[in-house]
């Protein structure tokens, strides 16, 4: 019974809250029980807000009984990466430096969801300060639910692992260099990094101001669409916020969800270098898209690979500024993970000319991605060319240890600001998930989500559950 409830989608939950066959309090309780039973194996949560969640769930139950739900996410259990500020709740940024940080105001996206009645279960583990591979959380690593000996990806590690483990229906993540898409792919769930400016970052601890994005992660694309709609919109508190109309993503996804007649572009630059096993799975997914009536066209993004070093220079320099005081004081420096200090220290040495060139170069990639998308609805690529590493081991590509600025296909999304989603598309020989990445034009998330939904609805990958 408990397992069935915790694996219902947000769409299914709300439908059953409305018809009275389920109650938000019971659903919150079921999730909290499962967190208590399962999370010690995985370490998804840094903080579980049990009493607060039950109180909010009871209020939600009352609204349904009165026939007046607050919204289409009322009563849905969600959890936020512990980099989203939450009023009155510990917000650590995944760092021992934040172990006493209790904000007085919630991040805009968390506040919007709570105002809409969604029930916050707690705060999720992450790679410290949302930095990249090689970093550990100040609260220990999050294991991959498919095999606890392996990493769950990052930096939104707990946000990737929790939904597939049945520990939250929807989670919130952030993405500065793939940090929503990487753990989504590693854990076998869907995730979307929306267009830069679509979702407010107010209240989200910065990693790099010009590259940070926030977005939802979930087991189904339709849940992503519903939550993205609730999180989106202009926010004067975020200088990067875009004043764009917010469409009804979910309705658009339902209306456009068939793959028939759609065109997807594939750029060879985003398909190599790659582990052969990953390529085989992704190529099979592309053949499946064609078998469902989608047309494949070739595209070019000549400078795609340069996005990785450009992203490194921008993140390094901006993070170095954010952490200037943290790394200058011995008492704070000692509390930081050495790998975080490595990243922000490297950033302090980067040349101003490289920083400016990397910023200007973003327009080159925007133009190239725009051109690649000119003949297609979306562009499809590898999500991550590497196989998931064991916990504590470095990432390797084709047998060679790689630094994250030397490979990958996700940084293109941060550099351009274009939206990109990930959906599960298979499992490797060790039983670990592999993701498929889908790029779209700015402020056309509905097209990206519709394509992802079309794929998801004709495959079974998203229905698989790990044994826990």
């Amino acid at each position: 019974m408990q397992e069935d409830v915790v694996y219902l989608s947000a769409v299914e939950l709300v439908s059953r809250f409305i018809d009275g066959s389920l109650d938000p309090s019971a659903v919150a309780e079921a999730h909290l029980e499962r967190i208590a039973a399962v999370d010690p194996k995985l370490n998804c949560y840094i903080t579980v807000t049990r009493e607060r969640a039950l109180e909010r769930a009871r209020a939600s139950s009352a609204r349904y009984r009165a026939g007046k739900p607050a919204s289409d996410v009322d009563g849905v259990p969600f959890a936020a990466k512990d980099i989203f500020a939450t009023a009155g709740i510990l917000t650590t940024h995944g760092s021992k430096l934040g172990r006493e940080n209790v904000p007085s105001e919630s991040a805009t996206s968390v506040a919007k969801l709570e105002e809409a009645g969604a029930v916050l279960l707690g705060k999720l583990n992450l790679l410290e300060y949302a930095t990249g591979s090689g970093t550990e959380s100040g609260f220990g690593p999050t294991s991959n639910p498919w095999n606890p000996e392996y990493e769950s990806g990052g930096s939104s590690s707990g946000s990737g692992a929790a939904p597939v483990a049945g520990l939250a229906t929807v989670t919130l993540g952030t993405d500065t260099g793939g940090s929503i898409r990487n753990p989504s792919g590693r854990c076998g769930i869907a995730g979307i990094k929306p267009t830069y400016g679509r979702v407010s970052r107010h209240g989200v601890t910065p990693l790099a101001w010009t590259l940070d994005h926030a977005g939802p992660m979930a087991r189904t694309v339709r849940d992503l669409a519903r939550f993205l709609g609730r999180m989106s919109g202009y926010d004067e508190k975020d200088p990067g916020s875009a004043d764009e109309p917010v469409p009804d993503f979910e309705t658009a996804v339902e209306a456009m969800g068939s793959l028939s007649g759609k065109t997807f572009a594939v750029a060879s630059e985003l398909m190599a270098p790659v582990e052969p096993e990953v390529l085989q799975i992704v190529e099979e997914a592309m053949r499946h898209l064609e078998s469902q009536g989608a047309r494949r066209v070739d595209a070019e993004i000549p400078h795609a690979a340069v996005a990785n070093i450009a992203d490194e220079i921008l993140i390094g320099a901006e993070a170095a500024v954010y952490h200037e005081q943290n790394v200058s004081r011995p008492e704070t420096r000692a509390l930081m993970d050495p790998a975080v200090r490595l990243y922000v220290t490297a950033g302090r040495t980067y040349l101003a000319t490289d920083y400016v060139k990397a910023q200007r170069f973003r327009l080159v990639l925007q133009n190239e991605l725009t051109e690649a998308l000119s003949q297609a609805d979306v562009l499809v690529s590898l999500n991550d060319p590497t196989l998931t590493a064991r916990l504590g081991e470095p990432t390797r590509l084709l047998g060679k240890e790689v630094r994250w600025f030397e490979y990958g296909t996700v940084n293109l999304g941060n550099i351009t600001g274009f939206p990109a989603a990930t959906v599960p598309c298979g499992f490797d020989s060790r039983g670990l998930p592999v993701g498929l990445q889908i790029y779209g034009r700015p402020f056309e998330e509905e097209r990206v989500l519709a394509f992802a939904h079309g794929y998801e609805q004709t495959t079974e990958w998203h229905r698989r559950r790990p044994t826990l």
Partner: protein
């Protein structure tokens, strides 16, 4: 105390700065790390010694990658900085 002449000598003579920015020669990893260390000390960047020891190989790798792939790209002078990011069409 570093005087201005020594500071300029390091800046203009630093292997990574000269090689990576003005010539197509690829500096060696050792040259890069040594020059970064000199720059850190002379220019008052203020990176603690143990942090520098952690980061120098990573930073040198990033410099080499930037020298190989980013710096050779010739950008149109008309390209604006993405202050008005075209993916961000804020109207307020």
């Amino acid at each position: 105390m570093t005087d201005r002449r020594h500071f300029l000598t390091i800046l203009t003579g630093a292997g990574w700065a000269a090689a990576a920015c003005t010539t197509s020669e690829e500096p060696s990893e050792d040259d890069l790390e040594r020059s970064l260390q000199e720059l850190n000390q002379a220019a008052g960047i203020g990176i603690a010694a143990d942090d520098f020891a952690l980061a120098r190989g990573y930073a040198a790798g990033a410099y080499r990658e930037a020298a190989r792939s980013l710096r050779p790209i010739v950008l149109d002078a008309a390209l604006d900085l993405p202050v008005a990011f075209s993916a961000k069409r804020g109207r307020r």
